[in-house]
Structures are given as structure tokens and as C-alpha cells.
Symmetry: D4
Subunit: 132 residues, 8 copies
């Protein structure tokens, strides 16, 4: 278990901050915390995501090696994320699908793409102890 | 506050997995969770970090826009991280220094570089409520 | 102690939603959760505040009987709120001052006013058990 | 998640304090914490509700824009509140009903009225992450 | 550590229920939960105390063997209880004093008397692990 | 919710300390914490029970007004207590039965008797919020 | 309940540290924390296991009196451990089987053997209160 | 952080069960949970210790490789353990002393011996994150 008071910090590029707010807040349901001329910060599932205004965004969405997201300990939280994605028609790169099938570390996974071609992954392990 | 049972998930490239283990486990004090031919996974301060074997690593360490790390709610945890960095002589990109000085969101920050030129940021806000 | 997963819900009028976002998010440090044409919702210190667009706002700010806010169990969290108010020059109605001085239920209090004349109160009891 | 030690604070008018105790304690199941000549304070689902003696109460119960209540993270807690309301025949303004139906933020809601025409709302979101 | 959701249950006699409310709620700062013709129930420091109307109350207050109260894990909570007792001039049977002095289980103790001669004890062990 | 680090403290008479250990530890499953010539202390469901050696024990077991026990927030914990009582053939005074049936505060209850005629009550409210 | 921030500490002999890492990390799913020439340390289900390089290991695996492991409060966590053992074909000494059957302290148990003949036991009590 | 509801399980030999109770309960302050003819079980700092009656106990107390104990996250809990050891004159094998001095994993340590020559170690790391 992690400390509930600390926050993981992830910083990524965004070509347009309004677009980022649209996707992360009104799409994924993250919460807008602060906004500056060159960046916007979010409470992203309890962790801190920062989108820095940048022209240096990926030309296309590629799943590996760079991505970020959440590994949900409970199956219903993964299901709820899938429901948000469907209701709000967010862009899916792949999934939901099963990975490492038939092994102890089997898990469901869903890859999304944000408006700046950053890739997100949401996961749910059958055995949350193995989510690391 | 975030859910202590979920894990934030961050995936980054590594040019050499042994080097990654050396830096993240024996350097930063993360814990090795699983190892495959093409990736190694860590319990990184309670969240999940995955290093994917890749030749596509940054040519040099650049702080913005891409980096990741931890925002500590308590000052002593930031101090302890600084002590680990000093004792184990990890590569510092900049800091520890004060940012947004004289504002409500003032915080200490320290930037590190991993062996594949990925940039890490550790922070401690005077007001943890504003760490998002 | 209260349940950390539930949220207290407070709904108030706002004459202008942008103004409300400016005050609650960029002023007080609440987080913007959702926005509709007629309302905006906030993660307000972990509880849910909703500002409904309305012409029916108070003509002037009056402390009693209607107001809402937070009672902090720890003195340092009250101090941090005072610091945010000072740094961001939010409108103070009265305080910080001491109330019920010399009694068991002695506490510090600070009254603020939002752009629609809604009154907020932040408190810190010497004995958090008596904060109810 | 919110801090279990802090308390949200809501202050409203009451035309009669005995009536308020009757409704909030012996009706809704809140707990009486303190009583003064001009006010009575309650542990209201873990948060602090204060009823100030006032002649300035609403002429009739109107749901918007002003109301307060609780958003329950678990469906069974909403069900239990509905059961209390039925057993003790509290005054229902509307509901229980479904709002934002067919969207990600779909939730059940129940509006009550207290003896001074203050309106209360209790909610349960299908996805508690979206309860803000 | 105990389960925060359960409640210890203590039932005692009271010769007069109004007197019991006066002592436990407006004196000690417990919260009134429910009231019936023959009993009144309290949220007593998070546990449930019930005063049953009874003529069978002790003729005088005797500390042993029957009493009940709270063992506080933190010294400041014991100090706060002492402050409430002083401010509200509650009846002290003995203390605050030190017991088992010079042993590992050394603790501070304060004995109070309620209006029906029931005895209460509040404690604070230097080593909370030994408070059992 | 109560503070998990504090302990409710209940002190009762016992005519024989070995008998008390037999009943509370090897019967009810409490844990023996400390033993002195004139008293024995238990970790009783996370709270502190002390049995003081005394000749002043009740002549017979009477349910009201004096008794103590636990109110379980979850039905399965009450079921488990019932199972312990059955397996270990502890003396039941009455129940398990339903009280306040058909009201919001409906709950299951079980009364036991210890070897010194002290009465214990274990409860489980349909709505744990009303367990106070 | 135990303190989530402390760690139980168990130190055992290992005839080969690589073998220990293979078994504990890539087998049981513990996490490698630190490694020295003469020992390796693990985050073993949240507690600390240390394997000291030693020629003094048991000649064969004997279940009693020395062993160590985890008592899971929830049945699904025991089930998940069994699944890991099956998927990764770890050496089972006995079980899973039922012990103390038909008593209040009935529990499931599974004994494993590590590469140095140290014995591990994993358990799940029907009544987690009796897991001590 | 570990799960507060699970328990680490450590089983060791004891040549005499009364002696074990004397040392672990009345010495170290563990709590006696269950007793059988051939074993006694303890709540040992929140984890489960079982002493099995056995003639196979160590001829003398040797610190390595086999021992068990607790790593305290907070310095004051280590201090309290030292105080219990001094007050109750428990047998110290070595310490309290500092180990890994001048490194990031520096910690205080104290080795005790139980009546069957089993060795216990209590620790406190300057940086609790490195206690694994």
C-alpha cells in the first residue's frame, strides 16, 4: 500500500492547455487544480499530473515505452473507468483486453490517447499484490 | 488524499535493465517487483514504475516537459530523499531549491537523472493541499 | 471522525460561474471537478461544493445565519489557509480571531466572502473533539 | 478522499431550536453536540451543522440554489438513509430519483425539507470518483 | 489498534435522564444520539454509552471495581480532557495523578463522578502499547 | 467512527481471576494483556477490559441497567461472535434476537453472562450510523 | 489490527542468495529491497524478510516448530496466494487443508518450502479476530 | 505500508510454555491469545507469534542467521521498547547500538534473548522507507 497523503507526480507535454483541460477534466474526470500561462495541473486519481505547454509532442500515439495511468486494486473501479470512457467517447488506443493471460500476474488493460498523443494505461490485476 | 490500495503507473524507456535496477533499487531505494526479458517493474514509493528495454532513450537529460517523481506531504520525507541521494551519490540535475517562492504554492524541488536520461522530480509543498 | 470516502455536499448561488472558478480554484485552492452551463462543481477540501448560476445572490455579505466552510483538526492547516488568503489577497469579512475565548470550546475563526456575497468560515478548535 | 479528522461546517437558520433538534437528531439521526440560547450544533454524518435561531428562514422550501447534504460513496448508505426517512416519516421534497441518467455522472438523489424550510440533498453516484 | 467502525457499548444506571444529558453532553462533550422514555444514548468518545433510567444507582461514588472511561493514546488528548473538566467544573473523584509510577506501564489517570454516582476513569499511558 | 488508537476502558468485578481468564481469553477470544495479584487486564475487541478481584459481584445476572459489550458495524462480525459462543458453549442470557424491530434502529442482540454474573451485550445494527 | 507503518522482521538462513531471490521475488511475489554480499532483504507481504547467506540451513524441511508466513484476514487473499503457488509451481510441503476443523479457530493452511528448506505457512481464519 | 488487518506469522520452539508466557506477556508486553497443551499463541506487536513446545531449542543464543522482531517506523516506539526492556530487566544480547552507520540505511538495533534462546531483534531506521 502507498501513503495516501503523498502524490505521484507525472509531467507531460501538451500542445494546447484548453484541450488538455477538456480531455482530463471533462473527459476522464480528473480535477483542475491550478492553471498558469505555460502549464495546467490536475488531481489525477489522487496523484498530480502536470501538462506543460510544448510543441514537442509525439507525432503519433505509440503505446511503448512511454505511458502513464492507474492500476486499480478493485475490479469495479476499472469497470467504472471503462464506463466513463464509453459515455464520453474518449479515444481508445487498444483494449480493454487481458494481458499475461493464464499467469499469476494476469490483468485487464485499457490504453487511451490524449489530444497531444500522450498514451495512458489503466489496469486491474486479478491479484493486486502483483500490481507492482 | 489518494487511495492507498491503487497504484499510479509510470512506464519509461531504459537502455539497460541491470543499470535500471542498480539506479532504482540500490540507488533510490525502490523495490524490484518483477523482471522479464524486455522490462523490469518496481514498487516506486508505493506506485508502479516499469522500465521497458528500448533504444529510444533521450540523448540528454532535459527537465521539461517530461519527468515524473513524488510530491511528499511531509518535509521530513523530502529531507530523507535528499539524504539518500547524497549518501549514494545519485546524479542531480538541479536543486534542492525553492520554487514559486513567496507564493502560496511555494515548494522545494530536486531533479535527478536516471542512467537512461529520464528525469525525476521530487517535491515538498509548504501546503500539501496545494501539491496538486 | 467522519468517513473519508463520503463527501459533504453544499450548494450555493453564484452570479457568474467564471468568477466562482476564479475565487474557489485560483483563490482558495479548491479543485474544479465538473462544469455545466448552469453550474460548476468543486472538490472543496475533500467535500463537494456546487455553485448554481443564479440571480438570487445576497445583496451584501452577512455572517449569520448562513455560511459554510471547514473546521480543521490541526492548527497548521488553519495557518496554511490563512497564508493562502494573505498571498492571494482574498476578501476577509472578519478575523482571524478567537471565539468562545476562555472556554473549552475556544477556537480560531476566519470569515471570507466569495464574489457572490456567500460567506465562508474556517475554524480550528483547541480541542478538535469539540469541533461539532 | 477527504481528511477523516476535519469537519465540513454548514450553518443555517432555524426558527425554533427544539424543532431543529427533533428533526436532525430524532429524525435524521444526527447527534446533538452543543446547545446555546441562540444556536444548537450537530454532528451531522461526521460534519458540523449549526442551526442559528433566526426569523430569517425561507418562506417555502425551494431546491435550488441553496441546499446541503451528503454524497454517499456506497449504495447501501444511501439505501439506509432512505429507510430512516421512511420509518420516521420525514418530509420529502422529491425523490428518491435518478439524475443525469445515462451519463457517467449518473446518481440517485433525495431531497428533504427541515422544519425551517431548509432543503437537504442526499446523493449516491454510480461512480464515487465523480461525486465532486 | 481497534476497528474504527465498531463501537464499545457501556450501559449504566441514571436516576434522571436530563441530569445525564447535562453531564455527558454539556459537561464532558459527548454527543446525544437517541432519547427514549427510559433511556438516552450517547456517542461517548466514539463509543456508545447508554444511560438507563433506574432507581438502582450507587449510594456513593466508589472507584473500584466498577468504572469506565477512555485510555487516550496521545498525551494531548488527556490534557484536553483535563481542560474540559476544569472549564466546566465537573466533579473530580481523584487526580489527575500518576499511577504505576516508575514502571513500564506508568500512566496518568483522572477519576470523575457522574450525577448518579457512576465513576469514570480517563487514562494516558506513557507507552500506548501497554494501555491494554 | 472512533479513533483506532484510543481504547475504551471498562472495569468490572471478578470473584476469581483464573475464572475470568478462562472466560474472556479461552472463551470469548479476548487477549490477556497484564496480570497482577488483584486484577487482570484484557484486550477486549480492541478496547481495555479490567477484572478487579472483588467479593462484590452480582448475586445473579440481570441484563439492565449495567452491562457492556460491542456493537459490530458489520453483520459478519456479529455472526462470528455467535459462532464462537456456540462452539465454546458460553452462557447465554438471551438471544440472539431482534430488538426495536421494524424501526430505523433495528438491531440484533445477544446477552452473555461471565462467571461473576457480569452481563455482556453484543449488537449489530442494520444501520451502523444509528449504533450510537 | 497492527500498525501499517511498522514491519515485522524475520531473518532466516539461505545457502544461496540468487536462489532466494528467485524463490521469494519471482516465485512468491515478494519484492527485492536491498542486496549485500552476505544478505538480501525483501518486502515480504509488507513485512521485512532477510535471507542471510549461511551454510547452516536445515537438512530437510520440517514444519514444526520453526516456520513463518502470513495470516490473511480475507479469504480471497489466501485464494490468490494459492493461485500464485500453482501458477509458478512452488514447492508445497502440505495443504491447502483445513485445521482445527469444527472449532471457532478453524482455518485454512498451506505449507511451502524455500530452496534452503525453510518452511513457510500461509493461513486464513474463518474468524480473523482469532488469527492471533 | 502493510495491510493492518493481516498478521505476519512466526512460529518458534519453546522448552516451557509458562516460561514463554512470562517472557512474552509479562516481559515484552505481548498479549496471550490462545493456549493449548503443545503451544501458546500471542498477539506480538500486532502480528502472530506461536511458541511450540519443543525440546529442540538452541543450545545458546546466536544472533545470526535466525531471529525475528519488529522494525518500528517511529523513533519513540523504539525508545518505548528499550524502556520496557530496562524496567523489566529482560535479557539483552547486544545493543541498543547503531548499525550501517553513516549510510542511508542507518538504524538503531537491540537484540534480546527469550528463555529458549530464541533471538529477537528490534530496529528503527532513520528512513522508514528503507526498513525493508
Amino acid at each position: 500500500m502507498r501513503d495516501p497523503r503523498d502524490a505521484c507526480h507525472v509531467a507531460i507535454p501538451a500542445r494546447d492547455l484548453d484541450e488538455a483541460v477538456e480531455f482530463y477534466v471533462f473527459g476522464l474526470g480528473a480535477k483542475l487544480a491550478r492553471r498558469y500561462d505555460d502549464r495546467v495541473t490536475f488531481d489525477f486519481f489522487g496523484d498530480q499530473l502536470v501538462c506543460h505547454l510544448s510543441e514537442n509532442v509525439p507525432a503519433e500515439a505509440v503505446a511503448y515505452p512511454r505511458h502513464f495511468g492507474v492500476s486499480f486494486a478493485r475490479a469495479e473501479d476499472f469497470d467504472r473507468l471503462v464506463r466513463v470512457v464509453e459515455h464520453r467517447k474518449l479515444t481508445v488506443l487498444s483494449g480493454p483486453s487481458l494481458r499475461f493471460e493464464g499467469t499469476a500476474e494476469q490483468h485487464r488493460t485499457l490504453f487511451l490517447v490524449d489530444p497531444s498523443n500522450n498514451v495512458l494505461e489503466f489496469k486491474n490485476y486479478d491479484d493486486p499484490r502483483l500490481q507492482y
